[in-house]
Amino acid sequence: MPAHDPQMLKGVLSLLLLQLCATQEDYGYSLVVRLQQLGFADLAEGTVYPALSRLESQGFLDARLVRSASGPARKYYTPTAAGIAERSRALEAWDSLVVAVASVLTTQEVST
């Protein structure tokens, strides 16, 4: 599988994190592992952790500390109401982008 363009990934990372947290409350490293297993094998922790912090600062994610038997307390994230709304907005924007890009690519194929 080819490596993902970091700039493109940055554009959709918030959407991916909101989606994963909406599916299941989760913490930083586990989210990284889930994303890697879902196809983003080259995704670095250094990209995900700041994105989580920013989403929390923006009020899109809520966090709570959960004690762990094997290590320090983990910070679990869940989307807030604003986060769920943001996920819907970002999803619509993504769908719209995919349609537009597909349209351009299809036209290009015909002309060549």
Binding site: Y27, G28, Y29, S30, V32, A44, E45, G46, Y49, P50, S53, R54, S57, S68, A69, S70, G71, P72, A73, R74, K75
Partner: protein
Amino acid sequence: MSTSVASTAPTDALTAGAPAAEAVARGVTTAGVEVGGPVADLVFAAFVLTVIAVVVLWLARPWELRGGRLVDKIRIGEAASSYDFWLSLRGVGGRRRRELRAELRANLWEAAQHVGAKEAIAGVGQLRRLAHDSVPEHRGPRWGYGVAAGFVAVEVFLMAQVFLATVVADAAQAAGARRLDVALTLVPGMSVQYEEVSGGGFSVGTEFGPASLVVAALAFVAFAQPWRLLTRRGAGAVTSV
């Protein structure tokens, strides 16, 4: 503090410090051995401190005592401290900094269980970049930068002062002067005094004056940029309208 090893001698036996010959004369076959002095004191203090540290660690961070390599724990702790430093330079408040540091430590700990601490720390990339990306741009004064710059300025100033003192001492000895007082015109209050003392030695003293504090204050203001406080308030006022 001293630790003693008990003697099994009769009641009239050897007293501490009694000469060995006297003991032989009395027919005493056992002797007391006393272990003490500063080395024993240090060992005892180190033992007590270690016990306290282990108890505190067990209460505050029990996972630190369960398995894992010590070097990995040190690596993770160092990475968390470094991250905290870069956050502080970005002007992040103490509480938020503690939260972010604890979160990074937990994530690194978790990752280290799977890929090792070295790999886990490499995964987050440069900690300076991570701190930069984790918090929004700070538009207020940069107090952390100011304090760091102030300390560096004082350090440089003191180094210059020490260098000047050695130059004055060399010059006085070369000229054969018994006493020399040097005051710097460009730096008010800064002076160096050289004096020969009886017995062939010499002493050098320095007066710092207010110059070092002024330099430190200037460096602090230049780097902290407290005027950002005014621009931030101004921006807030515009936004609220």
